[in-house]
Structures are given as C-alpha cells and as structure tokens.
Amino acid sequence: MKKTSSKIIAVLVLGALLLGGLNWYNQSKLQKGSKQIQIVVSIDENGTKKVIYDKTTRTDALKLGDLLDELVTAKKLSIELSGNKTDAYGRFILGIDGYKITDMAKGPWWLYNSTTNPDCVAAGYCAGIDMAPIYDKDVFTFNFTSTY
C-alpha cells in the first residue's frame, strides 16, 4: 500500500509539473499588449517635415493619453503635458523630446492626427489625448507646426 501511495504521489507530482510547465510555456508565448499602435512624431523645419520618432508599440491602453504615459515611463519619449486627465478636455501636449510650445498665440503647437483611428476619421479631427480611444493598428502622427 505504501508503494502504491508513493507511485500515486509521484504521478500527481509529475502531472502537476507537466501542467505547470505547460502553463508557463503558454504564458511565455503570450504577447503583452493586445493592440499594435504606430506613433510618428515630426517637426516642421524650414517648410519640410522632419520625423524624429517613428515606432510601433504594443499596448493594452484604452486611451492615447495612457499610451503616451507608457512611452514616457519606458523612456521612449519625453513628453511635457499640462492639465490633468480629469480636466474637461484632458491633458494638453506642451512639448515632446525637447520641442516645446513657447508662444501659445503664434505657435508652433503640437497637433496630432490619425487617418486610421475610426473616431478621428468619423469626427474629422482627433479629440484630446485623454479622450481618444485607441484601436489595434492605429497610426497617430504628432506634428510640431505653426499651421493647421
């Protein structure tokens, strides 16, 4: 009986190890971030657009503002914002990677757009970063410009 118990315990341990290993393997294959978003940052320089950042990232963020926070935390971009998420229009972009708005009346300002985001396309413009839901395969272009 003791021998049988040892066999049963051994098989239970083996089964638990196999299930644990399988679970670990399956988890390791999961890609963190269900959405793939491309962020392009450009500046108007002598009438031409100069791209300073163009990367695709994976995220589970619901709003564009949350994704920008993730990029800042990951030190992929440095972004200066004004206001709070809870403000009526959310936060406002003051500067990205050292390019800051110095004259709010004349610009240049940080504007952003998307030709893929269904909400931006439907409205004809994108809402504030903390109000803009993001979808898989979205491309957002941030441009530092005096014209709009």
Binding site: T4, K7, I8, V11, L12, L14, G15, L18, L19, L22, N23
Partner: protein, 178 residues
C-alpha cells in the same frame, strides 16, 4: 451463453460504463470508462467487448446529443479495446503495467480526436484542437493511471469470478469466445 442472456449481459455492461461516465462527468477528464472497457476487453469475447464500446458511444449520443465526437467515440474506444487485447499477453495481471498503459492512453486520447478533426476540418484545425487540449490530456493520463493502479486488480478479479459463475450457471458458448 444463450443469446438472450448475452443481450442482457451486454446491455448491463454498457449501462455500467454509461453510469460510470455520467457519475464522474462533473470532473473533467477523470473517468472510469477506460478501466471498465479494459476489463471487458480482457475478459469478454472480443466481439462482445467491442459491442459494449459501440453501444456505449450510441448511449452517450442519446444522453449528451449527437456531435462529431460521437464518430470519435465509435472508433477511439474500440481502438483502446484492441490495444488492451494486444497488450494483454505482455501486461498479464500487472496493475502497474495496465496503469502505465492507461496513462499513455489518456495522454493520446486528445491526439486521436485531433486526428479526426484534421481529417474532417483540416490539418490546422487538428493541430489547434490537440494543442488546446494538452492540459486535459495530462489530467486524463494522471487520473487514468491512479484509477487503474487502484482498481484494476479488484475489479478484474471480481469480474472474472462473476463471469465464470455466469458461464457455469447458464453454460458457455465457445463460438462467442474470442
């Protein structure tokens, strides 16, 4: 054995497998079907043993509803009985060996279903089905091993005793045997 008695016996044995299946249905992939069919495959005339497996598949369909899995049951359980029959001279009455065989069978169960899925719905579907079910196959293998290790010998001895008594009482029909 008289035909009427044989029919009654097959019905009772099939009912025993069905009852065992339904009784443990709340535990995913923990079942006594493999053990019971193994015992029947070893002790019954082979044709009768196969009949139990096929009748069991039919009853399962009546209880749970018809689906592609019924086709699977129609060939996978008989395959287990054929395997048991082939392994019988090698395993003899060793609980350990039958437990290992049952464990391997539990592990292969999902794979065999995935072969059927591959044939019916395409190779990719078959692979996906198998991969999604590996954790259940592991549970199936472990539970089969434990149940067969613990219950094979007492059930096998008891079944053999009862079956011999039945043959003694109502007579043997060697034409049905093996």
């Amino acid at each position: 054995m008289k035909p009427v008695l044989r029919i009654v016996l097959l019905a009772a044995l099939t009912a025993s497998v069905l009852a065992a299946q339904i009784g443990l249905a709340f535990l995913p992939n923990v079942e006594l079907v493999s053990l019971l069919l193994l015992i029947y495959a070893i002790h019954l005339p082979f044709k009768d043993a196969l009949m139990v497996a096929i009748l069991f598949a039919v009853l399962e369909a009546l209880v749970w509803g018809f689906g592609d899995w019924v086709i699977g049951y129609m060939w996978i359980w008989p395959l287990w009985m054929i395997t048991a029959r082939l392994l019988a001279p090698l395993n003899k009455d060793s609980s350990d060996r039958w437990a290992i065989a049952g464990g391997v069978w539990g592990l292969l169960f999902g794979f065999l279903f995935s072969v059927q899925h591959a044939v019916l719905y395409g190779f990719t579907m078959g692979i996906a089905y198998w991969l999604r079910g590996i954790s259940f196959d592991i549970i199936h293998a472990v539970s089969n091993y434990i149940l067969i290790l613990l219950l094979y010998k007492p059930l096998s001895i008891q079944f053999e005793r009862l079956y011999q008594r039945l043959e003694g009482t109502y007579g043997r029909n060697d034409k049905n045997r093996r």
